[in-house]
Amino acid sequence: MTNDKKLFIGFVGLFALVNAILLGGGYLDMSWASLGVIVAAGLTISLYSFLYHDNPLFKLAEHIFVGVAAAYIFGIYWYQSLYGEVIVRLFSIGDDPGTTTQRLLLLVPSILGLLILTRLSVKIGWLSRISFAFVVGVGAGFTIPRYISAFVLSQIEPTIRPITMDMDGLNLVLIMIGVVSVLVYFFFSVEHRGFVGGVSKVGIWFLMISFGASFGYTIMARLSLLIGRVRFLLDDWLHVM
């Protein structure tokens, strides 16, 4: 027997023992909720076993998750959109107040939607291009004016305010220097030499501080997730908190 096999059997035995103690000690009862906690704890630990190294237990838990996730999301799409909205309205099921015009108009996206599915066929797959042309075209069209307004105008305007001789004014100047130098860094028509090189170097400093911010915050986020899972194990499952 290999080392890993011993570890695996030891783990399963220990997991069973702990759960037996929890059930026997009255921490967990024989309900669906308690069973759920046990299953979730088992899956959590199985996934963490990847930290030791890639192993069958991890792969098993991962693939269970993949299957459940796919079917869960199918449920959401079916009940809340395809059945709950499209079919109910098209066939006016129940108390649907829609008019005939609305129903006819709804036929358009429904047909375009079915055309999307032709992409799975080699022969008539080209039909899906009509739907993709719609999605991509409308998306691009909606994007252009809104990005100009929400990102270009709305971000430039608060940067060019009158500069005052106080802390706020200093910060405004720093923001101005930062925005301009970052734009210069991502400017590709001029070599980064001399003055332009100097400005783009300043741009890198600003970028590095912002990456430092993202770095620190990402670490914070991952640790928060870990705290959440450890809390689950210690509190909901083991009841030691």
Partner: protein, 273 residues
């Protein structure tokens, strides 16, 4: 430096202990709200002072960020319900409905709120930002029914809502692009409703430009932000408890970075010398 080449699994054990021990002990650090969090709180207080206040809460996060986002969702729902603000909840993320239902059911029962008159849950609609434009034009067209199949026109909370401007505040709980690339360009930009949000810590630094330009009125960032909100609400919850472990592990990581770099520079000096 052999010390730097230790098996990373030893470090993993340190981290686990760094999280588990503070969770089991009882101690605390004083929490003070930062400005973006305070602004969210003030927005809800402003809404509470208005007539027939109603907010739209958009759940745009999935299962992978539950430990960060769920405490935040609970905190803002508690604030809304405690101040008798009506809540309409929607989901823009396919995994969100289950999580939104749990949060709504829990907080509504804490404050004795009734479904239909005090809050409504309208479920998920696909299309990333497309439902936002749809809601801006016609709310009932975007969300014809709630998750139980009732027409929104027949639900007291939503019957009078015509479009996004009829909400006193729109609040997005975001784990991804939804604040920056959905709500701001496709919603706030055109319809000009009051908008604020909460997001994972990963997204938070990206949103500062929008705080300054007032396109986003306040932001709760990550578990730390949620803890600050719990502090403002004076209802300590799981985020506040998590701050003990968060504080300790941050110190551990900082110590690791400093140690690693010290060793790195020491070894470099040795090579050059």
């Amino acid at each position: 430096m052999d010390l730097l080449n230790i098996d990373r699994r030893i470090i993993f054990v340190f981290v686990f202990i760094g999280v588990a021990i503070p969770l089991m002990l009882d101690f605390s650090f004083p929490i003070k709200a930062t400005e973006p969090v305070q602004r969210v709180f003030d927005e809800f207080e402003r809404v509470a002072a208005e007539e027939e206040p109603v907010v739209l809460v958009s759940f745009s996060y999935g299962a992978s960020t539950v430990p960060e986002m769920q405490p935040m969702a609970l905190a803002i729902l508690r604030h809304a319900f405690s101040r008798d603000i009506k809540v309409v909840a929607i989901c823009l993320w396919p995994e969100a409905p289950g999580l939104a239902q749990q949060a709504l059911a829990q907080v509504a029962s804490e404050y004795g709120k009734e479904y239909g008159t005090d809050y409504a849950f309208l479920g998920y609609k696909p299309g990333l930002w497309a439902p936002i434009i749809n809601m801006g034009q016609d709310f009932h067209d975007a969300w014809p029914r709630d998750a139980r199949g009732t027409l929104v026109g027949d639900i007291p909370v939503t019957s009078a809502i015509r479009d996004l401007n009829d909400f006193n505040l729109v609040f997005d709980l975001a784990a991804g692009d939804s604040i920056e690339f959905w709500w701001i360009p496709f919603g706030v930009e055109k319809y000009k409703f009051a908008f604020s949000g909460g997001c994972t810590a990963v997204m938070a630094p990206d949103l500062y430009p929008f705080l300054q330009s007032d396109q986003l009125r306040g932001m709760i960032g990550g578990l730390a932000g949620a803890a600050e909100y719990e502090h403002l609400m004076e209802i300590p919850g799981s985020a506040t408890a998590g701050m003990r472990a968060q504080s300790v592990t941050h110190l551990i990581i900082v110590a690791f970075i400093l140690l690693g770099n010290a060793a790195y520079f020491a070894s470099r000096r040795k090579v050059t010398a």
